[in-house]
C-alpha cells in the first residue's frame, strides 16, 4: 500500500520535525477531522536570509528509489541526494575520490579490493553503516540473489559465471571490506561511484520493505526521504545528523516536481513555481533568460545516435548503411534541432572525454551519391521506430529527430515509416519489433570508455539495438577492460571507434550539452556530467 506508507511516513515526519508554528499547532488540533500539511514549515524562509526550500522540476517520476532496481536518470537524480557510494566522483569529472570508503588498496593482480570505511556513519533509519551493510548492499545484486528487476546489477557487478565481475564480498571487520573479482577490470573503481546499483542501502530498511526500498529509500546521504506523491512530487528533508561536515546540506527542504511538458516546466520556472528545471531545449532558452532566469550549460557525457538493424535484410551490409547515412545532412540537422546546445558527433565518445577520437571520421553527407547508391541497392522503403520523450542526449525527442531523417530520405526517394512509442514501451519495442532503423542514445555512467564502447558488443539487444555482432570488435572490448589505463588502452578504444565508423552500425548524430534553467537566486548546485544533480551545497536567497 503505497499511499498508506506515505501517509505513515509523512505523519511520522510531521510529529518528529513539525515546526511549532502556530498554524501547525492549530492544524494538529484539527487532525481528527481533517489533515495536516506535508511539511510543517510552509514556504517561509529562515532567519539567515536563505530560503527553506529549493524546487527542482524534471520531466517525470522516478521509476523507483532503490538503486538496485532502477536504470533511469530521473531516479538517479533524486537518489544521488539520498544515498552515497563507497567512492565518489569529482564535481566536474569522473575521477574518483573517497566517499563512504575513506581509502582503498588494490592488489597487484587487480583482483582484490580492500576498502576502509568511514566510522560513525548512520543510515537515515538509525542503522549503523558498517562493512556488513556494504556486503549486504552488494550481495543482493550478485548472481544467485539478483532478479530480473535489477537492470544494472550485471553491468556494475558482473556475472561470475560468465567470467567477469565480483566473486565475493567479505566483511573483514566492521570497517574493512574485501571485494574479490573474477577477472581484473579497469572500470571497476569507477563503477563503485555510479549512482545506479552502487549506492549503499540500509540493510534494515531493505528487510523491512520486503526486498526493495523503491518507495521508502534509506541511505546515508545529506537528504532524507519525506514523501512521494505520485505524478506530482517528492519531498526531501535535510539530514541533520549527516556525517560529512564538508558536504552538509545547506537548504532544509528539497522538492522534486514532475512536470512532463518542456514548455510547462519553463512556465513553472518563470512563474516561480520551480527554482531549477532540466530537460529543456534551445527553443526555450530565450524565454528563460528574458524572464531574468539563468541558463546552465555544460558539456554532457552522452551520444545521440540512429542505429541500423544490422540483422535486417535492408541493412545487413555496411554498403547499404553507408548509402543511407550519406542521405542525412547531420550538420544541418543538429544545428536546426539543437541550436548551440549540441555538437555534431564525430565519434561515439565526446571529444572532451577521449581526445584521441579526433582522428575518427564519419560518413559525410552526399545527397547524389546516396540517391544513386540506394536506388542501386533497391532500397525504397524503411521501417523506423522511435521514442516520443525528450532524452538527455536528445532534448527535442525522438520523433522530431526521426521526422527530420524521414525528410532527408524523402529527398533521395526513400519512404520512411515512423512508429513512435513512449520511452518505457519503446525499450521493449526495440527488442520485439522488426525495424530497419531506430533511434537511441546513451548517457555515460562512469566516464570510462568501456561504458560507451561496449554497447556495440553487448549481447543484450536493449543495449545493442543495432544488433551489431562482430568477433573482432568483441575481442577488442574484452582486451580493453583488462588493460590498465594508459596509451595502450586508449589505442584499443581508438580502434573500436574506427571500426564503428567503418562498419557503420550507427549513424552518429550529436553530443548534447547538459542544459538546465535556474533562478539566479539559486547558487552552488551541481549538475554532474553523468546527468545527476547534487543539491546539498545549493542555497537560495530568500
Amino acid at each position: 500500500m503505497e499511499s498508506n506508507k506515505n501517509v505513515m511516513s509523512r505523519r511520522k515526519f510531521v510529529e518528529l520535525f513539525g515546526a511549532a508554528a502556530s498554524a501547525t499547532a492549530l492544524s494538529s488540533l484539527m487532525t481528527g477531522c481533517g489533515s495536516t500539511r506535508a511539511s510543517g514549515s510552509g514556504t517561509g524562509s529562515s532567519a539567515s536570509g536563505t530560503a527553506d526550500t529549493i524546487t527542482f522540476a524534471q520531466g517525470s517520476d522516478p521509476r523507483g528509489l532503490d538503486p538496485a532496481y532502477v536504470d533511469d536518470g530521473e531516479s538517479a537524480k533524486i537518489m544521488a541526494n539520498i544515498y552515497e557510494t563507497l567512492l565518489k566522483y569529482d564535481k566536474s569529472s569522473c575521477d574518483v575520490k573517497p566517499g563512504l570508503a575513506k581509502s582503498y588498496e588494490v592488489s597487484d593482480d587487480g583482483l582484490t579490493y580492500t576498502l576502509h570505511l568511514q566510522e560513525g556513519v548512520k543510515f537515515h533509519d538509525g542503522t549503523d553503516f558498517d562493512a556488513d551493510a556494504v556486503k549486504k548492499s552488494i550481495e543482493r545484486q550478485l548472481e544467485g540473489n539478483r532478479n530480473d528487476d535489477m537492470p544494472y546489477a550485471s553491468f556494475v557487478f558482473g556475472t561470475a559465471s560468465e567470467g567477469n565481475g565480483v566473486s565475493t564480498v567479505e566483511a573483514i571487520d566492521s570497517t574493512t571490506v574485501k571485494i574479490t573479482l573474477v577477472a581484473a577490470s579497469t572500470p571497476f573503481l569507477k563503477n563503485l561511484a555510479m549512482s545506479l546499483a552502487s549506492p549503499i542501502v540500509s540493510p534494515t530498511a531493505v528487510e523491512k520493505a520486503g526486498g526493495n526500498v523503491n518507495e521508502s529509500p534509506c541511505g546515508t546521504g545529506p537528504y532524507t526521504f519525506v514523501s512521494w506523491t505520485k505524478s506530482q512530487n517528492i519531498v526531501l528533508k535535510a539530514n541533520d545528523s549527516y556525517w560529512d561536515s564538508d558536504n552538509a546540506p545547506k537548504t532544509p527542504n528539497i522538492i522534486f516536481k514532475f512536470i512532463s511538458e518542456n514548455a510547462s516546466r519553463v512556465t513553472a520556472l518563470n512563474n516561480g513555481e520551480a527554482d531549477i528545471i532540466d530537460g529543456i531545449d534551445d527553443s526555450v532558452v530565450d524565454t528563460i533568460t528574458s524572464a531574468g532566469n539563468s541558463l546552465y550549460d555544460e558539456d554532457g557525457m552522452n551520444i545521440n545516435y540512429m542505429a541500423f538493424n544490422t540483422q535486417s535484410d535492408t541493412f545487413k551490409t555496411p554498403e547499404a548503411r553507408k548509402a543511407f547515412a550519406k542521405a542525412v545532412d547531420v550538420d544541418e540537422m543538429v544545428k536546426s534541432l539543437y541550436g548551440d546546445y549540441a555538437g555534431v558527433a564525430s565519434s561515439i565518445m565526446p571529444l572532451w572525454m577521449a581526445p584521441y577520437d579526433k582522428d575518427v571520421t564519419q560518413t559525410s553527407f552526399d545527397k547524389d551519391a546516396a540517391k544513386s547508391e540506394l536506388a542501386a541497392l533497391g532500397i525504397t522503403s524503411v521501417k523506423c521506430i522511435t521514442y516520443s520523450n525528450a532524452r538527455p542526449y536528445n532534448t527535442k525527442g525522438g520523433q522530431a529527430l526521426a521526422e527530420a531523417v524521414q525528410g532527408y530520405l524523402k529527398d533521395v526517394g526513400v519512404d520512411v515509416s515512423i512508429d513512435t512509442y513512449d520511452w518505457t514501451t519503446y525499450k521493449t519495442k526495440v527488442q520485439t519489433e522488426a525495424y530497419d532503423i531506430c533511434f537511441y542514445g546513451w548517457v555515460g555512467d562512469n566516464g570510462d570508455p568501456d561504458n560507451f564502447m561496449n554497447l556495440l558488443s553487448d549481447s543484450n539487444v536493449s543495449m545493442n539495438v543495432a544488433r551489431f555482432d562482430d568477433a573482432d570488435y568483441k575481442a577488442l572490448i574484452a582486451q580493453g577492460v583488462a588493460t590498465p589505463d594508459g596509451d595502450a588502452r586508449d589505442d584499443i578504444y581508438l580502434q573500436c571507434e574506427k571500426m564503428a565508423a567503418d562498419k557503420q552500425p550507427w549513424l552518429l548524430i550529436s553530443h548534447s550539452k547538459n542544459l538546465a534553467g535556474y533562478s539566479p537566486k539559486v547558487k552552488d548546485f551541481v549538475i554532474h556530467p553523468t546527468g545527476v544533480v547534487w543539491l546539498w551545497g545549493a542555497t537560495k536567497e530568500a
Binding site: 511538458e261 518542456n262 514548455a263 519553463v266 512556465t267 531545449d281 527553443s283 526555450v284 530565450d286 524565454t287 545532412d329 544541418e332 540537422m333 544545428k335 536546426s336 534541432l337 516520443s388 527535442k396 520523433q399 522530431a400 526521426a402 521526422e403 527530420a404 524521414q406 525528410g407 532527408y408 524523402k410 515509416s417 515512423i418 512508429d419 513512435t420
Partner: protein, 319 residues
C-alpha cells in the same frame, strides 16, 4: 467533448424518449409520403432565413473545396506541405509563410490546408459508420420491439455508459495508432445516439394508420421501414449527423493531440497542435493556427446543425 455529450444536451434530445417529455414529439412525423415534398420545401425556406446557418454552409462548402482541390491538385498549395527545410525552421508568420513554419521548416499554412482532408474525411467516415450501423440497429429495435428491442437498446446503453473520448482512446490503445483506426473508434462510439433517435421516432410512427395499411397490403417489414418510416425520421437524423461531424472532428483532434493520430509526415490539426505545444513561447503560431482551424471547422458544423434543427423543428424556430 464528444458527440455523445452533444446528444445528451441538445434540447430536442430530451424529446428522444417520448415518455420523458411528451410535449416535444417531433412535428416532422407527418403521416404521409406525399407530404414529404412540401416538408422539404418548408424546411429549405426556414433554413434560408437563418443567416448564420447559411454562412456556415458556405464555409463548409469552402472547406470541402479546399480538401478536394488540395487532394487532386497539390500544386495549388503555396508550398509542399511535406517538404522539410531544416534551415528554415520556426519562421514567424510573414507574407511568404502566412502562418509561419514548423520545426522542420514546413509551411504551416499549407499543412493546415492539407489537414482539411484528414479532418473532413474522419468526420464524414466516422459519422457514416455510426449512421449506418446506428440507424439499422435503431430501426430493427424500434420496429421489432420486444426482446430484440431490449437486447439492442441495452447494448446501446452500455456503450453510452462510457464517455466517448475514453472509449475511443481505449479502442485505439487496443487496436494501435493510425487514422484509419481513429475513424473506426470514433464511428463506433457514437452508434448508440443514432440508434436511440431512430428507435424512438419509429416507435411513434409505427402505430400510425398508413403503416398499418401498408402492412395489410402485404409490404415486407424492410419495405415498410425504408418506404414509410425512414423518410420521416430522416430530418432529425441529418441534424444529428451534422452535429456528429463536429463531434468527430473534435475527437479526432483530441486523439491527434495525444499522439494517437496520423503517421508522420501527414498533416493533421490535432497532431500539429500537440507538437506546437512544446513551443508555446518560442513559436506560439505553431499551435495557434491549427487550433483556430479546428475551432472554425467545428463551429461551422455546429452552426449548420443548429440551423438545420431550427428548420426542422418549427417550435425551436420560433425562438
Amino acid at each position: 467533448m464528444a458527440a455523445d455529450s452533444i446528444a445528451m444536451q441538445s434540447p430536442q434530445d430530451l424529446g428522444e424518449d417520448p415518455q420523458t417529455d411528451p410535449s416535444q414529439t417531433p412535428p416532422e412525423v407527418a403521416p404521409a409520403d406525399e407530404k414529404a415534398d412540401s416538408l422539404w420545401r418548408d424546411f429549405w425556406y426556414a433554413f434560408r432565413g437563418n443567416k448564420m446557418a447559411v454562412v456556415s454552409l458556405v464555409l463548409i462548402g469552402v472547406l470541402v473545396v479546399v480538401a478536394i482541390v488540395t487532394a487532386l491538385f497539390p500544386s495549388v498549395l503555396p508550398y509542399d506541405p511535406y517538404q522539410q527545410d531544416l534551415s528554415a525552421s520556426f519562421q514567424e508568420p510573414s507574407l511568404a509563410h502566412l502562418c509561419g513554419t514548423d520545426q522542420q521548416g514546413r509551411d504551416i499554412f499549407s499543412r493546415i490546408l492539407v489537414g482539411t482532408q484528414v479532418s473532413l474525411t474522419v468526420g464524414l467516415l466516422a459519422v457514416s459508420i455510426s449512421l449506418v450501423v446506428g440507424v439499422t440497429l435503431g430501426a430493427i429495435a424500434g420496429y421489432k420491439g420486444g426482446v430484440v428491442d431490449t437486447i439492442i437498446m441495452r447494448c446501446m446503453d452500455m456503450m453510452l455508459a462510457i464517455p466517448s473520448i475514453l472509449l475511443a482512446i481505449a479502442f485505439m490503445a487496443a487496436l494501435g495508432k493510425g487514422i484509419d483506426k481513429a475513424v473506426v473508434a470514433i464511428g463506433l462510439v457514437s452508434i448508440p445516439e443514432y440508434a436511440r433517435i431512430v428507435r424512438s421516432q419509429i416507435l411513434s410512427v409505427k402505430e400510425n394508420d398508413y403503416v398499418a395499411a401498408a402492412r395489410v397490403i402485404g409490404d415486407s417489414d424492410a419495405a415498410i421501414i425504408f418506404r414509410h418510416v425512414l423518410p420521416n425520421v430522416l430530418p432529425s437524423i441529418i441534424v444529428r449527423a451534422t452535429l456528429g461531424i463536429s463531434g468527430a472532428i473534435l475527437d479526432c483532434a483530441a486523439l491527434g493531440f495525444l499522439g494517437l493520430g496520423v503517421q508522420p509526415p501527414q498533416a493533421e490539426w490535432g497532431d500539429m497542435l500537440g507538437r506546437g505545444r512544446n513551443f508555446i513561447f518560442s513559436a506560439p503560431y505553431t499551435m495557434i493556427f491549427p487550433g483556430l482551424a479546428i475551432t472554425i471547422t467545428v463551429l461551422a458544423f455546429n452552426l449548420l446543425g443548429d440551423g438545420l434543427r431550427d428548420a426542422v423543428d418549427p417550435k425551436s424556430r420560433r425562438r
